[in-house]
Amino acid sequence: MRPDSRNGSGERGSRCRRGRASRRRRRLAARYTLLTIGALVVLAPLYLTFVSSLLPPSALAERPPPLFPLDPQWHDYVIAWTQGDLGVYLRNSAIQTGIIVCGQLVTSVLAGYAFAFLRFPFKRALFVVFLATLMIPFEVTLVTNTQTISELGWYNTFAGLTVPFLATGVGTFLLRQAFLQIPRDLREAATLDGYGRLRFLLRIALPLARPALAALGVFSFLAAWNQYLWPLVVTGSGNGVRTVQIGLKLLQGTEVSRTDVALAGTVIAVLPLLVLLVVFQKQLVRSLTAGAVK
């Protein structure tokens, strides 16, 4: 700190101001440098993957790695889509994710509504039971769940892929909270206006809980689409219901063992989610941080 920087009058004051301005500029430059380095590090793996997926196989081993695909080869995408069956996998993932998202929204809305608005014996205890599911990681239930699925004959079916995930403790909690935010007066006004429980839910409660619904929807979409362990376990053989994540493993492993094709497949698999991120960033952040900030 310069000796005169504490004096705020006349000539010396303006010098002080100039000093502050240049210090601020330096700090700003440092901040942007840090941000840019961070961005490069975070982006590099995905970006290099994207570039490599467009390179001809001969260029893959070039060093330094090419940073722009000067002669983009979309051919690998066609191979991944057809020979790698990515088209089928994407469809399966869409169905699996669709079922899980809809199922979770429905069960969470119903249970959340009951916990928020209805009176019934053992309500508190049941709510604790719902929250207790958060304490049990899915991995812990794997041993018996694989047996259950095989006893039900649900191997290689969408039922096997999705039914275990049709309810969620977090989702129920999220919607209960959203419903509890609705003022009691509003509920009573609707009652006097002739709206029963179901109509109140559809006409008032759901529209007002839209932010929570969106957050839950985006969150379960992300979680379902990216599932790896369970689809691996229940889609043992054949492409019938195999999801895109498992398809990626196969691309990298045996079926079409070509790096460039595998990378093209990777890009195809991650693209829908990057779109999701950009479009629904707000909802995504809200759902991911639901428990973090009071």
């Binding site: 901040r31 893959l60 018996t144 309810a167 689409w225 990216n226 994540q245 595998a262």
Partner: protein
């Protein structure tokens, strides 16, 4: 115009309450059924299975061995190695991931030009799945087409087969994948720190560094702690990286046999559900321990903004 039924008030009131309760149960039922069949039943079944030894040949009945099997599995070198690798993995991934996430969140916290772009970039790995990350990093670390030899890092055997370097390699990939969540959580925590408090500290003559360490970080401590717990629990559940990049055919497998991978292996390859149940319960206890620690510490040490 409206119901003309004249029944004693007490009875109507009771029947109304019964109908409300019935509706309540009906609405809770679907979720409860799923939880019952796919969460609580299989969870409880672990305790029973742990007491029975699965015979080496399929078709033979399993045998009640009491706690013998529990002790046997927990003392086995395989489990201890798996537990050790898992804990080491947690130590490598969690602090690094949280710290970098915090750093990026602080850097991107100001309302400045292009910040929205940086934020999307930093949170982007939230949406990358394990399979995608594994493929991306598998390629980067490939001994032939990867970048490591060009960067002068060319361990032998290749990094993912290397007993020393395979686990750190998986950890680096996991830190990258975790950065997005870490950044998102830390950013949310930062924006919940009231600006007036920081301004008050600045007016009191504190330097930016002091403000950060003495005001921001303490106010952020609940968020940091939340991140710590969530990250640790996620790290315990790591599976896909090992499955895709290592696999039990790898030379380095013994050193990267993380707990969940071990569980699945025990179910699918060894087909000994009793042992798998013991491993599952061990995983549960680890998770529970972290969660309980969270409850204890949140009450005691972590500073909450009032």
């Amino acid at each position: 115009m409206s119901r003309g039924r004249e029944s004693p008030p007490a009875r109507t009131r009771r029947s109304r309450a019964v109908r409300e309760a019935a509706l309540g149960y009906l609405l809770v039922l679907p979720a409860l059924a799923v939880f019952g069949v796919f969460v609580f039943y299989p969870f409880a079944e672990n305790f029973r299975l742990a007491l029975y030894q699965t015979p080496p040949y399929p078709g033979l009945p399993s045998r009640y061995v009491g706690l013998h099997q529990v002790g046997q599995v927990l003392a086995s070198s395989g489990f201890l190695q798996s537990l050790g690798s898992t804990l080491l993995f947690v130590v490598m991934v969690v602090p690094a991931g949280l710290l970098i996430g915090l750093l990026l969140a602080v850097a991107a916290h100001r309302r400045l030009r292009a910040m929205a772009v940086y934020r999307v970039i930093f949170s982007s790995t939230v949406v990358t799945s394990v399979a995608v990350s594994a493929l991306v990093f598998g390629t980067l670390m490939d001994p032939v087409v990867g970048l490591l030899p060009w960067l002068g890092l060319n361990p032998s055997p290749p990094i993912l087969q290397n007993t020393t370097w395979a686990l750190p390699a998986i950890a680096v990939m996991s830190v990258w994948q975790f950065l997005g969540l870490s950044f998102v959580v830390m950013s949310a925590g930062l924006s919940a720190v009231p600006e007036e408090v920081l301004e008050a500290a600045r007016v009191d003559g504190a330097s930016e560094r002091t403000v950060f360490w003495r005001v921001t970080v303490p106010l952020l401590s609940p968020t940091i702690f939340f991140g710590l717990v969530v990250a640790t629990i996620y790290a315990f559940q790591t599976f896909g990286q090992v499955d895709i990049l290592i696999g039990y055919s790898s030379a380095a497998f013994e050193h990267v046999n993380l707990l969940v991978y071990d569980i699945l292996n025990t179910i699918e390859v060894a087909k000994t559900s009793g042992q798998a149940a013991v491993l599952s319960l061990a995983l549960f206890l680890l998770t529970l321990g972290v969660t309980l620690l969270q409850l204890r510490l949140v009450e005691r040490r972590v500073h909450y903004a009032a």
